[in-house]
Assembly symmetry: C2
Homo-oligomer: 398 residues x 2
Amino acid sequence: MPDISERGLQMPASPIRKLAPLSDAAKARGVKVYHLNIGQPDLHTPESALEAIRSVDRKILEYSPSDGYKWYRDNLVKYYATFDIELTPEQIIVTAGGSEAVLYAFMACLNPGDEIIVPEPAYANYMAFAVSAGAVIRTIPSTIDTGFALPHVDEFEKLINPRTKGILICNPNNPTGYVYTPDEMQQISHLVKKYNLYLFSDEVYREFIYSDTPYVSACHLKEIEENVVLIDSVSKRYSECGIRIGALITKNKKLHDTVMKFCQARLSPPLIGQIAANASLDAGEAYLKDSFDEYKSRRDFLIERLNNIPGVYSPMPMGAFYTVARLPVDDADAFCAWCLSDFRYEDQTVFMAPASGFYVTPGLGKNEVRIAYVLNKNDLAKALTVLEKALEAYQYTW
Amino acid sequence: MPDISERGLQMPASPIRKLAPLSDAAKARGVKVYHLNIGQPDLHTPESALEAIRSVDRKILEYSPSDGYKWYRDNLVKYYATFDIELTPEQIIVTAGGSEAVLYAFMACLNPGDEIIVPEPAYANYMAFAVSAGAVIRTIPSTIDTGFALPHVDEFEKLINPRTKGILICNPNNPTGYVYTPDEMQQISHLVKKYNLYLFSDEVYREFIYSDTPYVSACHLKEIEENVVLIDSVSKRYSECGIRIGALITKNKKLHDTVMKFCQARLSPPLIGQIAANASLDAGEAYLKDSFDEYKSRRDFLIERLNNIPGVYSPMPMGAFYTVARLPVDDADAFCAWCLSDFRYEDQTVFMAPASGFYVTPGLGKNEVRIAYVLNKNDLAKALTVLEKALEAYQYTW
């Protein structure tokens, strides 16, 4: 058979995926597995979205426009205006999830060998999309000891060279829950302007900011308007990851038109997904407030409980629904695998994501895990008890 | 602002898209435009699919597995078995339309600079996906005079060099409607085996073969089982282009696992689309027979009428729902644009796709158009009258 492509060989495999068979095996043996490993919210999708799907009365499920339906983009304009992000419908391209937006942003902006700077730990699939585009991710470590604050701007500047084409941030951050301060956003803005870079900004968790840090969108940075590529998705805010609706937003007409050539090639974003996403906008303040309150209350509970487990430390995440915690183990990959393969407490165990998969620099995050608080508090409490028991038992295994 | 990527600059823009504003302008002035330009079927989606959407009773629209739901892949196994294509669910990856399947096939198989051989005219977006992967499409012209039969195998062999990595066919063919004969498929098989190539085979129109030519799938070619990548989509057979459900099928485990890394990065194919596609499998023989009969009857009507217009020639397409016809004009691009911008017959005009967009070799297909028979016969008759009148009028314009 012919060879696999180089990029195919380079594509990273997620550490969560590697552990999934262990989780399946545990479940097959009747073990209750608490999933703290994935960003699949457990909250209900808005009823308005479910009702819109049940009310589809079309006779033909036809292609939508390649940039998405105008009625949906018109409503998105109003949505973004509530965050003081002023857009026109022509600046919004509807995509198949935030994933497609990242992929096409990279494809349209980056040549093979071009570099983008990303603070780590970072969402693992950015690396995969960079490999897809042949681009190189250069990372700047942020550390748990400073609560994963943005590294000083000097650290970015040290990495900048003629191949540097952009900076990528995720704000609020997956996996750390950090929210960039207005000062930090200004520093990024200056750097982007000074070196004429793209700023890719993934802001899918903007609804979930629990601290007093004001939300500063990359789109608020007036002096780099043409450099910003906003990545968005309805998956997390409306608990509808499966409809695959995201958006790529740019005020840069030339970039918009280039991205559109990729979008035209793939013809159309999902039709039913657009109907559901559009109806989700009608869910109202109450839905988002309930989600916010629920996640905030889980966060407070989770972080307090975590920090009460001997040897465990988690900073207080400011947003999103994740935290990266340090565990009293040498190798969190091995510990997470052991929890699934060997450890049981009252026929229960936990599935956490080893943080190593979110770092590019080898060796970083070895004793850290990402925990998603996508379980109700009752289950979260049980999962934390299991984690505490697991850590106790683990010290006697070697 | 920073530069656009090279691949972004190289991405082809579809000639149909370039003409779309003219069509919009005509419609805005109250002109009835007959759309013969796009592959958007006008037949109804199966009621079983529409009903399945209306019956979605989930509370959370969550991610599906990255390779698609097992229940859908199990049912696809049964579907393919009816065409003597023997598969396991593990050989099927559900994708966001056939488009995503082509893109990931190229990404997983082709390095930048690798070449694939494609008979032309060809579906224009293959070129876009090749540019996305940095690959080079080398074409072998087929001609209207031989009814767009596959060029002799010697013509393929002349193009093969150390960078040649695959052959791509679309069978039944978009845009020509040609169906490869068993002999031609055997020749391709030998060539693929001899030079250890990939065979990418897009077979989304398999239900629509009107001639006695038996359908030979690339998956029927036993001696190249590991080399074949089957591209599929439910869009055309069930008239549900908007749900974005396709498939990438390979018996090559290593390739499957590589493609899965791209699929895991984008997380999930559309959830509601899978529900609709799965229910479409229950539409039954009657639905597909009605579609077949309708398209066949339109084909017979269209081709006879076309060949009765002075100076027009169309071969009889064997499958799909397109034909490429030769018109008595020097420049079909200009003629198609003129139909939209200037010509009116009883407040009507036609929108056809200039065939030049389906050829890579400059100058080929200059006097050809692709016509999709996705209008009912009544409208098709009116559109053909308008075309005849347009051709009469056009000769006096220059």
